[in-house]
Amino acid sequence: MISCTEFIPAYSELFKFLEKKKDKVAVTDFWNFLSDEFLTNLRDEVFENGLLGCWNYWNKTLKEEAADFTMVLDEKAQEFSITMHHCPSKGLLLEQKQTEPYRDYCEHCIVLYQRVLDPLGFEYEHDQSQTNKAKCRLTVKPKKEIN
């Protein structure tokens, strides 16, 4: 049995495998598939509760992943944010010696979450400029209406 604690290296290796087997498009196609099939809990939460749904979803998952983070829900400002001080997934991949992380590993977050949140009327922004240090910041806001 592959333990859930071994998943992140298995995930990164899957991206490498798909790119080698076919191309980067196959990797993105898999992320889309995973978003549709796997993130139904995030979709349901946000559909029911809006930004509070983001809080409910990540409050559970990030604790289970033992992440080092600050999470803020500001309903007046209509903004949800996560400042990831140390991402457990990227951190693990950077720490282990036996394999290199997939080059675009962190991109999966953008694809998976944007695909859920965009159709529900939310903007998802993700600053990934420091992912080489396992740090990042994401914000979710309602889309501005264009008249």
Binding site: Y11, K22, T61, A66
Partner: protein, 157 residues
Amino acid sequence: MTKKSIVQQASDNAYYHKDFHIALNYGIEYLYKNFGEDAVVEYLMQFANNYHTPLKKSLSTIGLAAIKKHYEKIFKIEGAAYDMNFPKDNSELTIHLHASTAVMHIKKNGHLLAPAYEKTVSVVNQEICRNTPYDCELMEYKQDNGAYKIHFFKRDL
């Protein structure tokens, strides 16, 4: 209007996110549907050869005690019920997992088990043994709960 925040450090929580089992299951399903069973096998070989390099080295140097220690650790984290038969001469090891916590979690949450999911047991362990003095055979695998018996033994030279 609520404003709330939370600050957590890694040490505040245990690292155990069971939904990763579901994500891996979809990885296997995607490979199987788009590239076939051979791709599932190739992928798991790649994963095992890269990720389990330290375990392969330990297997070559200290023998099957390395496999025993590895799975004892995994099963403890997962809270899995199992038993092991490991004779004192270190020549063989049989592991009986009574139910896979991965399979049970996937099914409990309403997801179908991917075709060829059992390769996560057979292929990964075969690859851990490849180019070591040991080999293994998956003796039993139950599709309904992922229970299995796997036998590790010394290769004929």
